[in-house]
């Protein structure tokens, strides 16, 4: 038990902080932060699998997150039948053409010797393929995007339950990671970082600009939810009764009936949003716990030991007969799939898919800070990192505002410096995160909860 005392202490502090937010700001905000912390925790578990277990540096987290989000749209939204009628065939034909291109290129790569002729033929196949794709796709895409562009203008999804899309999100991200891993994992660490960063950017730009797929920057709103809607809750009797029972003391203090009814209504509205968020918290917590158990088992299994051996000394592990390329690919796919799952969870939580919001700052670098701050190679650490950093990211602005007001209280209200600082309070989050990262890297390079190797 003593071994875990620091873990327990760190998590209790985190919980107390969130409860503080609940008391001082509002419970709704506290739960929003909590939910995002849990989503961040899933992302950090994914990044930690890659970086902590195997030492693979993946700056493409943004791309997998976006793919996970795309999966929610493609799975849960109801299909747009009209769009399928006018342009479905073209899109299907395009998919066939792409598959044919990939198959022929692979065939050539496999069965012909390396030569200039081979390179030229591959290049001509790709260029020709793109031209053919352009010709086939354009009329279909135009027709699809013309159908009710304010509301749909895309193919829609399959109309399946939204929870299923979380699995699909993981599969999408894993599939992309398989392709990227096949081609890029041989690169040196910093090259791999840059390559993954740029590939993620390509993925996001495709999602942003292919409007027939998921409306691009026009966003998809009103996605399905695995939790009840606030409006339905506010109308159902059992919920109103529950709120009444919960607040019976407060309500009994109010004497007038109309005022009592008004107060109750207000409480029901507040409680409904808290209730919905609690449902999400429960779901997310289940996912985090399952992932934690699985990853923890894996870390201390023979497979986990093998991964650490490969991470710490590739040559020695290779000399012992471990297939490094295969293991790296496997771990790259697994980690990315977890990140994809987190992306799907996030879009479900928001209820909307906004490709324009995927930026490397928020979805790659902040996640990396979480992993480094929390503790590389330790799942408890990674999750804690997700909590701490997300909490700071959200709460830095209010805290900065408070401090600015405190330190400039002697200045007049209209003092230029004071006004300027108050206006830019929200940018202090970058400062906090940056200094936090630099401090941790300097004075506690293994993170808040360092990796622990159990000797068997």
């Amino acid at each position: 038990m003593r071994n875990y005392s620091n873990v327990i202490a760190a998590y209790s502090i985190m919980l107390v902080l969130i409860i503080f937010v609940g008391i001082f700001q509002s419970w709704s905000i506290a739960l929003t932060i909590m939910n995002y912390c849990l989503i961040s925790a899933v992302m950090t578990i994914g990044a930690n699998i890659q970086w902590g277990y195997a030492g693979l540096i993946n700056f493409g987290i943004m791309g997998y997150t976006a793919l996970g989000g795309l999966a929610v749209v493609l799975v849960s939204v109801d299909p747009v039948k009209k769009a399928w009628q006018v342009g479905g065939l073209n899109i299907l034909a395009c998919i066939l053409i792409i598959v044919a291109m990939v198959v022929t290129v692979r065939y050539i790569l496999k069965y012909f010797k390396k030569s200039k002729k081979r390179n030229y033929s591959i290049a001509s196949i790709i260029i020709g393929g793109i031209l053919v794709l352009n010709v086939t796709a354009t009329p279909g895409i135009e027709a699809i995007e013309a159908i009710d562009p304010a509301k749909t203008g895309f193919l829609g999804g399959l109309g399946m339950p939204v929870l299923f899309s979380w699995v699909v999100g993981g599969l999408f991200a894993g599939g992309l990671a398989f392709v990227i891993g096949k081609i890029a994992l041989g690169l040196r660490a910093d090259y791999l970082a840059i390559a993954t960063l740029l590939i993620a950017e390509i993925v996001v730009s495709i999602i942003k600009h292919e409007e027939w797929l998921a409306r691009g920057v026009k966003n998809v709103i009103g996605l399905k939810r695995p939790a009840p809607y606030e409006i339905d809750l506010q109308k159902s009797d059992w919920f109103i009764n529950l709120v009444e029972k919960f607040h019976s003391k407060k309500l009994s203090l109010i004497s007038s009936v109309t005022e009592k009814q008004e107060a109750l209504n207000q409480m029901v509205i507040e409680a409904s949003s808290v209730y919905v968020k609690l449902c999400f918290t429960g779901l997310f917590l289940t996912v985090v716990v399952i992932l934690l158990v699985v990853t923890q088992k894996a870390l201390y299994s023979p497979w986990g030991r093998k991964m650490r051996a490969i991470r710490d000394n590739e040559e020695a592990a290779s000399a012992m007969g471990k297939n490094i390329v295969k293991e790296h690919l496997l771990i790259f796919v697994l980690g990315s799939a977890v990140v994809g799952l987190a992306g799907a969870m996030m879009v479900t939580n928001d209820g909307l898919f906004t490709p324009g919001s995927y930026r490397p700052m928020r979805y790659t670098f902040v996640i990396w800070v979480m992993v480094i701050v929390g503790g590389t190679g330790n799942n408890f650490g990674a999750i804690l990192g997700g909590f701490v950093v997300w909490f700071l990211w959200v709460e830095a602005a209010p805290i900065a505002l408070f401090l600015i007001n405190l330190f400039t209280s002697h200045m007049p209200e209209t003092h230029a410096l004071r006004v300027h600082l108050i206006e830019s309070a929200s940018y202090f989050r970058f400062l906090v995160i940056g200094i936090g990262l630099l401090m941790i890297m300097r004075y506690r390079p293994k993170g808040i909860i360092p990796e622990k190797i159990i000797k068997q």
């Binding site: 840059i194 990396w368 970058f430 400062l431 940056g434 200094i435 990262l437 890297m441």
Partner: protein, 337 residues
């Protein structure tokens, strides 16, 4: 004959001139990346924000100069402020190196750790920029905007199509040529430059032959500061200054540096142009160009655009990925630094 000239004018006006200017801006950034990589041995993820930091000083000083009434005639005032901005930038870089990077250099940390530290520097720099100047879009070019207007060109040559040459574009290309040639002269001909190359080539051997590592590192940051500020200010003059855009510019700059073979300044210089030309040539709509060359009956209906301009960035990244896979050492042969 006239038709061919018209077609060429269209091509020059819409692709070659913008690509040359954009390429020069990328080239300066790419040399900055490559220099840090060659001497200090890490991929600097704070590249875009460092360029932004230098530009911020130039913008603020430009505003200050404008209020006290100093200007540079028909040239933008920002050119006058560059030296001051460079000094501020170099001081900032040396401070960061002293308090942050030097610790890891002495410990001989792996490059990945350096890269993560540079991410921390990126966050801090971005915070400072946003707190000081804010995230909004700023245009700070003044003086004469155009050297050659389309109408004037049409009058002089009698062609149907005109060429517009913005002064920011001309300044970009000229300043880049000056800066880059001085830098290559410095690296190849002076003793300090040679010691830098020796240090980059083999650190231990360089130390044995009495090269002072502190001096080499300092000189590297000074050159980097000059490149970053000049590159940033030129980009800002040509387009506009917006911190978020500068952060994103890091990506094509990395692409340019790697395409040219990271650690190879001349490769990085060419890499900048390769990326810029590829981006613009692949996203340009050739309809007007072709319509001059073909008889009227064959005039094309579509825009003849290979890829939509939305994919501008994606093109440079695809080039990078192809280069990384086919020739990880870059497309230009040559020694590093």
């Amino acid at each position: 004959m006239m038709e061919i000239l018209n077609a060429l004018t269209v091509l020059i006006n819409f692709t070659v001139i913008p690509a040359l200017a954009y390429g020069s801006q990328l080239a300066l950034g790419a040399i900055f990346v490559t220099l840090i990589y060659a001497v200090l041995r890490f991929a600097n993820f704070a590249t875009g924000d460092m360029m932004s930091f230098g530009t911020m000083f130039a913008v603020l000083l430009t505003y200050y100069f404008q209020t006290i009434g100093i200007n540079f005639g028909f040239l933008p005032t920002a050119l006058l402020t560059i030296p001051f901005a460079i000094v501020a930038m170099i001081i900032y870089m040396l401070l960061i190196d002293k308090f942050i990077f030097s610790y890891y250099r002495i410990k001989k940390s792996p490059p990945v750790q350096f890269a993560m530290v540079s991410v921390g520097v990126m966050f801090v720099t971005q915070a400072i920029i946003r707190i000081v100047i804010g995230p909004s879009d700023r245009r700070f070019i003044d003086g004469e905007k155009f050297i050659l207007k389309a109408n004037e060109f049409k009058e002089i040559t009698g062609l149907n199509e005109g060429i517009t040459l913005k002064s920011s574009q001309a300044i970009t290309v000229i300043v880049t040529i000056i800066i880059v040639s001085i830098m290559f002269w410095f690296l190849n001909k002076t003793k300090t430059g040679k010691s830098m190359r020796a240090y980059s080539d083999n650190e231990d051997l360089a130390l044995l032959s009495g090269i002072d590592p502190k001096k080499v590192v300092m000189i590297t940051w000074i050159i980097a500061g000059i490149l970053a500020t000049v590159g940033g200010v030129l980009y800002g003059l040509d387009k506009s200054y917006r911190p978020f855009v500068y952060f994103n510019n890091m990506l094509p700059i990395f692409a340019a540096a790697i395409v040219g073979g990271i650690g190879n300044p001349f490769g990085a210089f060419l890499g900048g142009y390769v990326i810029a030309f590829a981006e613009i040539f692949l996203t340009y709509a050739y309809k007007r160009f072709i319509s001059y060359l073909l008889p009227e009956s064959l005039e094309p209906n579509s825009l003849l655009q290979l890829l939509s301009t939305d994919y501008k960035f994606a093109i440079s990244f695809s080039i990078l990925v192809i280069v990384l896979l086919a020739r990880p050492s870059g497309i230009f042969k040559g020694k590093t630094l």
